[in-house]
Symmetry: D2
Subunit: 393 residues, 4 copies
C-alpha cells in the first residue's frame, strides 16, 4: 500500500491517491470529513481555520460506499482558490502581464521554514514557490488518507487515538490513559479544547496558548498515539528496514515541525535500570500471552507484541511568528525582520490529529505487508486465525 | 544506494551487499576494521567482545583499493563458528541425530527481546531460531557498511562523529561540543572509555556501569551524532517520505534497543517559545548563508540547511539480564525466571558507533539521491558547484 | 520520479500524481491535450472516442507554466459521468434503493479481459467493479503523464516518437525510418490514419481494419518507439534490476493488451549469426563514439549507448468482440456467448501513442536516476558536461 | 521478497542475499547445486565451463535444512581465483607495483558488450573493471537464487520448467509440449544436449552450433518457460506496475544478451483475428474455471488465470567473437579488430536455465506479494483456501 499527495496551500485543490487498499472496505466521505474537521479544531488556531471548512470528494476507487481494490482518489478543494487564481495561476502568464507585477512574491525567507533551502534546491527566486508546498496545509490530505487507514484498522479490530500530552511545558498526567479503552479516551479528547485527556492540564495549556498569542509568540508540545488490538508479529526483526518501530519513527518525524519521536518510556529509559524497563511475560488460556506492564510501548524486536503501541512525537513551536526573527533578503542580501504569513500560536492539537493519521497509515500498511490484503473478508478471517494461533502458541 | 545484510549471531559469517556505490571510491579493509574495533570497545562490554576480534573481508566490488561501481560485498567471519557447527548447522540433520538432542534449544522467551513474538511470526518452537538473527551481533556489518558510507562522505567534505551524552541518568555537558571540529571531537571520544566528550561525566558513567554490573542489572543511555560539511538542500519538503529528518529517525530507531530519536533541541522544544527555538539567518560573502544558532539541528523542511546536523537516539538498558524477569515457557506454559544468554551491562558506547554508521549511511544515500553518483570525480565536482551556487544564492 | 493513477472508466475523473519532477520545467495543458487528442485518433476507433474529447486540468505542482518541484497533479474529467452517477455512484446506496436494481451489473466475464480473475481476486460479484478499472480508459492519464515526460526529455535534447509497424499481418517497411529525424518521422506519422510511416502499408492496414470491423472481428499489431539524443550510460549493468532494457520491457508489457516486447533486431536475432548482429564501434573527433549499425537498438549491457533506442511491442486484437466467444455466468455457472461493451475493431494506432508515453516516462525516470534532477538548468548543464565527456572518453 | 547479488567474474566469489523468504522452507545446497550444474551444461559451451564446477555454500538464513525467515546468503566460490589474485586483487597496489604492470588491462571495448559505455559511466580506463561485472558469470548466483524460489514454488504446488525452442534459426515443434506435465517436459529436456523437447530439432541445433563454432561465429535462440499450478489472481490490473506480465518481461529482458520477450502467442498475435486469439471460458464442478485454449499464456489483465503461464525470451548470439568486429582503442582512438576473452559459440541452453531461475523468482515474489509469506504452513493453507474459493467463485 502506498500513496502520493499533491497540492499547494493556495492552489485549487489538494489530492491524494492511495494504491493497494483491499476491496470491500467501507469508505464514505462522511468518515473522512469528521477527521478533517477535527484537524481544523483545537484552541489556538489562526484565522484561516475559520475561512475554510475542508471537505473531501472521493473521485475514484470507491463505488456505492465500498472500495473496489483500485486506487482511491481523495480531493479537498481550496475554498479560497478564487482569490488566488492570478497569484497561483497554473498556465503561463500572458504577454501583457509583467512577472514583476505578480503580487505576494517572497524574497525574504522565514527562519525555521523550508523557504531558503527550498529556494536553493529548486532554483526559486520567488520563495512562494516553496512555501506553498512546504506549508502544513498538505497535512489535510494526509489526515484524509489516515481516515481511510483508520477505517481499515477499525474493521480489523484495531483502534487508534491521539491525545496531547504537553503544550508549552505544561504536562498532562499520562496515568490518566491507563485502564481506559481507546474509545473512552477518544470521547474525552474530542470534547477537550486542546485534545488533552487531563482536564486540569488542559486548562493550563489553554492559558499558555493565550499567553503566547498575546506575547506574539508560539508554543509547541508533545502528542501521543495509542493503538490497541494489534495482532502480534506485525513488523520484523530480520532486516533493519522492516522494523515497525523504525517505520513509526519515520512517519512521526515526517510531520511538519516535528523534531523527535519516542516509543513506550522513550528517552526516560536513559535514566532507568534494565529491571525497571522490561515487561514481564504472562500467559493464560483466556488471554494468551500478555505483558504485565507496557514500558516498551507494544514493540519488541521491531514487531508488535499485541500490547498497545504507544508512540509520542514532539512538535516545535510553529515558526511563523508575530514576533519576528532576523533573516536575509535573497535579492538584496540585506538583513530584515522576518515577514509574517498568517499564523496560529499553537498547532499542537491539530498536529495530534495528523499524528494519529500518519501512524494509522503506517500500522495499516504494516498489517497489509503481513497479511493478504486483496479483500476485506479474507483479510479479517486470516487475522482471526492468526490471533487464535498466537494465543495458543 | 541500498544494502542487505545476512547472518546469524553464531552462524559462520555475517555478510552485507551494498549496491549503488559510486565508482572510484577508495575502500580498504583497514578503514572498515578500525570501525569494527571501535564497536567492540567501550567500558561495560561482556566476554564475547574479548573472544572475537571482528575483521572484514571484501569479496566483491573493489579492485586495487577502489570501488568498481558494482555491488560491494563485505564479510565478517565468526571466529567462534567452529564451536557451533552442530547447533547451528546449515544442512539437514542426518537420520542418526535426534533433533531433541540439539543443544541450546530455547523454549523460554526473554522479556524485551524478539524471542516470543519472533517465534510466533515465523513458527519457531526453538526460539534460538529467532535470537540468532535478532541479536545485536548483526550491527557488526551495519558498522562495516557505515564505514564505507563514511569514506564516501569524507571524500565529499562531509564529516560525522558520534558521542555518548548520557548513561544511566548521568548527563554529559553538551556545550563541550560547541566550537570543536568533528575531528577534534572524534579524538577526545576515541580516547574516552565510554566514548564521551565530557571527562567528568565519563568517570561517573564508568562508575554507574560498574555499579549496574555488580547489581546484576543494566543501564541505557543517549548517543548523539553530528554531521558537518553538509551541502544545503539534501532531502526534500515536497513529499513526506523524502524528508531527510524522517529518514534519520527511521535509521536511528532501527538500531537494536533504540526507543527514541530527536533532532536539534528535540523534546526540549515542547517547553520553549518559538522565539527561543528558531535560528536566525545571516549572510556574508565569505560564508554564504548561515544560521546564528543551530537549535533545529541542521534541518529545516526536511532538508539539510548546511549547518551541522545533530541527531540523538536513546538506547534502553539491554534486556539480557543477570537479574532475571518473569516469563513463560512456550512448551509447558509454566512461568519461569528468564534465562541468560551471555551479556553486557551497558552497550551504549558500542551503540554510538552503530548510530554513527547508520546515520552515515542515510546521509550518504540522501546525498546520492540528490547528486549524480556514478563516479567520484564528477560527484565531487557537482557538489562543489552546488556549494558555490548556494553560497551566492 | 514516480507516479500513481486513479480512476474508473465511467467514474467522475481520471487522476495522476507525478512526484519527483525537476523544478522549472515548462508544462502546459496545451502540450498534454495534444497527446490526448492523438490517443483518441487513428482509424478503427469506436463510438466512445467521438463522445469524449479528453482534456487535462493541472491542479498542482505547476505555477505560471513552470513546474515547482512539488508533485504535479493531472485530472481528466469524464464528460460522460453525468449519465453514470447512479451506476457508478461513490456514496453508499440509500436504503430506498435495492442493490439489485443497479443497472449494468455484469456477471458474465468476457474472455481475454480481467473480468473473471479480477472478480475472484477482489471478491466482486458484479464484474463491472473490475472492468471499470481494467479498461484501457486508464491509459488516458498515462498518456498525460508521458506528455510531461516528453517535455522533460525535449528540453534535454532527447526526442521520441512511436509509429505503427504492423496491423493484422500487414507489415510496414521498417527501412523507411532510416535516415529520418524523429521530427520528420513524427510529421509523417501524425498525418497518417493509422500512424504508420509507410503510406502503402497504411492503405492496406486501413482496409484490414475495415474488413475486421465488417466481419465483427478485431485485429492487433506492432508499434515501434524510437528515442534519439540519449546520453550514453543511462541504466546500468551492475545489477539486473537497473538495466534500462529491462525497465523498457516492463513498461511496454504493462500496456493493456500488450503481449510482447523486443529491442533492436529482437526475435529476429534467433535466426542470425553473431557477426550479423553486433554493431561495430567507430570514433571521430566530431561525433565521438558511434556504432556503424544499430541492430542492438541503442542498448548494450542494459545501458544507453548514445545510438537511437528502438523498442517494439505487440498488441493483441482487443478482446471486446462483436463476434462473441463462449464464457460462463458466474452466478448460474451456465455457459453463454460473451456480452459486448462498446468496442473498437483496432486500437493499435492509439496504443502507439500510449507506448510512446510509457517509454518516454521510463527514459525520463532513468535519466533522472543518473543525473541530479532538482532543477532544469543544472540538469541541462550536467548532461551537457556528460555528453562532452563521453565524446572524448 | 528481494535480493542483491555481488561478485566479479574473476573475483574470489559470487554472493547473493535473499531477504523476505518464508520460514520453514526446506533449502539444501544439493538442490541448488543441481541447478548450477544444469547451467554449466548444454552443447556449445566454452572451456571455462570445464574448468569450474560451481557449488554453493549457504552461509546464513538456514538451519538444519530449513529457512529461518532471516536473510539467506548464498556463496559460489571461484575455483580459478588463485590465478587472479594479482590482477583482481582487492587491496590497494603496494608502492612497489607499477599499475601499468597489471596484466590483462583492457582498453579495447568489444562491440555488443557493456565495455565501452560502462567505462564511460563509471570512469574506468581499464575496461576489465566493467567486463568483470557485466559478464554472464553473474547469472550463476541468479540461478542459485532461482533454485530457492523453485523450491518455494514446489512446496506450493507450482511447477516450472524451461526449454529451448529455437537455436540459430532451427525451430522446435512447440506442439510437443502440449499434454505433457512439467515433470515430463523436464525429464526430456534434462536428457537433451541443447535442453530441447524436440529431438529432431535438437540434432539440427547441435549441428548448427558446431557449424557456427567452426566458422568462428556464434548463434542465439529462443527459450520458453512454462509454469503450471498457479493460483488465479496473482498480479493485479489496478496499477500498471503491479501487472505480473510486466514483471516477467522485466525479469526476462534483464538476462544478459536477451533482447525480447513474449507471452502466449506473443508477436504472432499481430497476424491474427481477435476470434483466433482469446481463450473461451468453461466451468465444471471438478476443475472450476478453465480456458479451452491457452493462447494468452496464462495471463489476463496482468493476473495469473490459473492456466499455465507461458513466456519466451530471445537471446542474441553472444558477442564474444572469434570472428572479430571492428572497435576503437579508447586510449589511442585507433580502430582495431575486437579482442577475444574466452567464449562459447552458443549459450542458449545455459540461458534457458537462467530464464527458468529468474522467472521462478518473479513468480515466487508475486505469490508472496499476494499471500502471507511469514511461514510455510500458513502460506500453504492460505493458498489451498484460495484455490478452493476460486474454483467455486
Amino acid at each position: 500500500m502506498r500513496y502520493l499527495t499533491a497540492g499547494e496551500s493556495h492552489g485549487p485543490q489538494l489530492t491524494a491517491i492511495i494504491e493497494g487498499l483491499p476491496a470491500q472496505l467501507e469508505i464514505t466521505s462522511e468518515q473522512i470529513n469528521k477527521e478533517l474537521k477535527r484537524r481544523q479544531g483545537g484552541h489556538g488556531r489562526g484565522r484561516r481555520m475559520q475561512i475554510e471548512k475542508d471537505t473531501v470528494a472521493i473521485t475514484a476507487g470507491v463505488r456505492h460506499g465500498k472500495s473496489l481494490g483500485s486506487p482511491v482518489c481523495l480531493v479537498v478543494n481550496n475554498d479560497d482558490w478564487k482569490h488566488w487564481t492570478n497569484i497561483m495561476g497554473i498556465e503561463p502568464l500572458g504577454e501583457e502581464i509583467d512577472p514583476e507585477d505578480i503580487k505576494r512574491q517572497i524574497t525574504r525567507p522565514r527562519p525555521g521554514h523550508a523557504d531558503l533551502v527550498g529556494g536553493m534546491k529548486y532554483g526559486h527566486r520567488d520563495l512562494r514557490n516553496v512555501l506553498e508546498r512546504s506549508s502544513a496545509r498538505e497535512t489535510t490530505v494526509r489526515v484524509a488518507v489516515g481516515a481511510v487507514a483508520k477505517q481499515l484498522l477499525s474493521e480489523l479490530g484495531i483502534s487508534i487515538v491521539a491525545h496531547v500530552t504537553k503544550i508549552g511545558g505544561i504536562e498532562a498526567n499520562l496515568d490518566l490513559a491507563t485502564g481506559k479503552t481507546i474509545e473512552e479516551i477518544r470521547e474525552i479528547v474530542e470534547a477537550d479544547p486542546v485534545y488533552c485527556l487531563d482536564s486540569e492540564a488542559s486548562e493550563k495549556m489553554v492559558e499558555a496558548i493565550d499567553y503566547a498569542k498575546k506575547a506574539g509568540d508560539t508554543i509547541g508540545g508533545v502528542v501521543e498515539v495509542i493503538i490497541s488490538g494489534m495482532p502480534a508479529g506485525v513488523g520484523s526483526y530480520v532486516h533493519y528496514d522492516r522494523k515497525l518501530d523504525a517505520k513509526l519513527a519515520m512517519a512521526m518525524m515526517s510531520i511538519n515541525a516535528f523534531k523527535g519521536v519516542e516509543i513506550g518510556l522513550g528517552f526516560e529509559m536513559a535514566n532507568l535500570f534494565g529491571s525497571q524497563v522490561h515487561d514481564q511475560i504472562s500467559w493464560s488460556e483466556e488471554e494468551g500471552y500478555t505483558r504485565d506492564t507496557n514500558r516498551l510501548g507494544g514493540l519488541e524486536g521491531g514487531m508488535s507484541t499485541g500490547m498497545p503501541i504507544v508512540v509520542r512525537g514532539v512538535m516545535k513551536p510553529i515558526p511563523t511568528l508575530y514576533k519576528p526573527l532576523q533573516s536575509v533578503d535573497i535579492d538584496t542580501k540585506e538583513p530584515f525582520k522576518a515577514s509574517i504569513e498568517r499564523s496560529d500560536s499553537c498547532a499542537v492539537p491539530a498536529a495530534s490529529v495528523v499524528a494519529e493519521a500518519v501512524i494509522a497509515w503506517e500500522i495499516a500498511q504494516a498489517v497489509l505487508d503481513t497479511f493478504n490484503g486483496d479483500k476485506m473478508d479474507s483479510l479479517k478471517a486470516e487475522i482471526e486465525r492468526h490471533r487464535a494461533y498466537t494465543k495458543g502458541f
